[in-house]
Symmetry: C2
Subunit: 356 residues, 2 copies
């Protein structure tokens, strides 16, 4: 690994006041190029520009995949990652489906840790805050012919992460548009999945909603997931979430929440959820919570769910009553090093990993 340190850090404590997510980048980035059938040597260098022509393959054919992770700083100053091996594995699952080369574990893991170590002052120490980490891989060959690229860039970027959604969201259940096909790329964290979701989200916004809850494309009968979150539904005192499938992203937060909930004695069901039963549970007063879970948001308790022309308002539970908020507190405490880590999910980033 080549390390090329920034001459003068751009860090100031004011970066933590930035209110937009994912637009303020830390000092360094990791880059690794794939060419002639193999990965080159990774380099950590100051975040900045690269040379690309407008023929860059990803702009035309969309071969791009990414991950979303965070680095947390405990009150003792230690910096942690959270289950990074899950993101590593998922990135490579995405790579296979998009016909892209897999990234070797040492490039991903050692690169990630070295980068976070180098930019550790960018990790905020405030409880609940974090530095967002973005591993990404995309096609860089200068070729406008519809085939897999022969060249790729793997990069890790890090950006200041204020609260992604700083207000509770309302969501519209999809009844016209879809995110994923059977036999498609829905389970992958593929660039094109997001591009395809923006217009339906735009339309939902015009109806007064913030996001779309996707349903199956053939019948719009089953609840699948939201924009960048898996969805959990609480009916009575049961927490229900859809099984992962080839259409749904296998979220790290979802998996962690399921394990945490079970440990906390919350009754959990992983099974298909119909739109109809959510609607019926609302009518009968049994629908207590619907919330999204994902790395960026951790948990967002929805205030309303749109179903056709109806807007189903959800009850306002106190933080002590809400499964979403209870799980969020437990997860964030674990991630920040405040609580014990019975699952072994926390990975400490050692200091001075890199000499430069």
């Amino acid at each position: 690994m080549i390390i090329e340190k920034i001459k003068e850090s751009r860090f100031t404590p004011e970066v933590f006041d930035i209110e937009t997510f994912g637009t303020a980048f830390s000092d360094h980035m990791l880059l690794c190029w794939y060419k002639d059938g193999k990965w080159g040597e990774p380099i950590i260098k100051p975040y900045g520009k690269l040379d690309f022509t407008p023929a860059i393959s990803v702009g035309h054919y969309g071969q791009g995949i990414f991950e979303g992770m965070k680095a947390y700083k405990g009150s003792n100053g230690d910096v942690y990652l959270f289950r990074p091996e899950k993101n590593f594995e998922r990135l490579n699952k995405s790579a296979v489906r998009l016909d892209m080369p897999e990234i070797p574990e040492h490039i991903f893991m050692d690169g990630l840790k070295a980068l976070v170590d180098l930019d550790r002052q960018w990790v905020p120490a405030t409880h609940g805050m974090s530095l967002y980490l973005r591993p990404v891989m995309f096609a860089t060959e200068e070729a406008i012919t519809a085939r897999s690229s022969n060249e790729y860039l793997f990069a890790i970027l890090t950006a200041v992460a204020p609260n992604y959604y700083n207000k509770p969201l309302s969501v519209k259940i999809a009844d016209r548009y879809s995110r994923a096909a059977n036999g498609g790329v829905g389970f992958a964290k593929a660039a094109g999945n997001y591009a395809g979701s923006f217009y339906p989200t735009h339309l939902a916004r015009e109806e007064g909603y913030d996001q779309v809850v996707w349903t199956d494309d053939a019948t719009h009968t089953f609840i699948e997931e939201a924009g960048t979150m898996n969805v959990m539904v609480r009916i009575g005192d049961k927490l229900i979430t859809a099984p992962t499938s080839e259409r749904i992203l296998d979220g790290v937060t979802r998996d962690s929440m399921l394990q945490l909930a079970t440990k906390l004695g919350i009754e959990v069901e992983v099974r298909k959820i119909t739109v109809q039963e959510v609607y019926d549970a609302h009518k009968s007063g049994e629908l207590k919570e619907v919330f999204g879970v994902g790395t960026a948001v951790v948990v967002n308790n929805y205030v309303a769910v749109g179903y056709g022309d109806e807007r189903l308002e959800l009850p306002l539970l106190s933080p002590e009553e809400s499964y979403g908020q209870i799980l969020k507190k437990n997860l964030v405490d674990l991630q920040m090093g405040v609580s014990e880590d019975p699952f072994g999910w926390r990975v400490k980033v050692e200091e001075n990993l890199v000499e430069a």
Copy 2:
């Protein structure tokens, strides 16, 4: 429009010998940037590098769309475009679905003509050859947050176009993977559609096929389209093709072929085609041809169609017997200015459109 001519042309007659499609670019490119809610002034300048960081939005979220067109040179030296307004309209349909800004007609059309005029020596005069034109638009904002970009680049690139598929292809009918969802982006020329198709194509190749013929994602019962081609099936003396839908690209070649076929007195049916009827027609000997039609290939008569574990070999028709080859000849003659143009499809590129 700003014109910045290349100092010394890179053109040599040898460029026409290049055998790879879409990797040898002509002297100039057109660029136009979208920012602060509006398109800037287009510029034509030497093809080359731009500055992007790895946070370029399209690499993460896949907001990218494109078109594929060609410029043809007649024996009198005139240069023609073919139905460019169709590509202009389709690009903007794609833009809407991908939540991207539409490109104004004058930027697209005037830019395209000026660019082709400037690089007209790159248009080969050989019958059946052409210069490939690639309008493309992608998200360029430096932001890693899952929302529509606020900045875009519209570009037109041109590349030397040898025959895209210089051999007849064999195709595998999709029975596991899919290209498009109901309510998805299949009808758009969206970058992500191609990325999602590479892996299934890769698998088909391992089975001895060149491309995949896509079917509906819910049942794999209906024939939809191929990699970058619409598909036509000839059963007996009837030419059948699927209707366009929200899952299928509305191909300019498909539309032109349907009109040409009707004019030539070929019986045409636009209706859903089941995989089963293609299979049955093969068994009964009535399946005469299956071919793909698209700008890059014009026509490719498939030599075999894979259905499950069976490889259905197709009869070898002479150019005089084959609907595919008859239509191809008629279309190419029209495009190259060899035959009359009763449809008004040819658009001549005037000379010295731009002063520089």
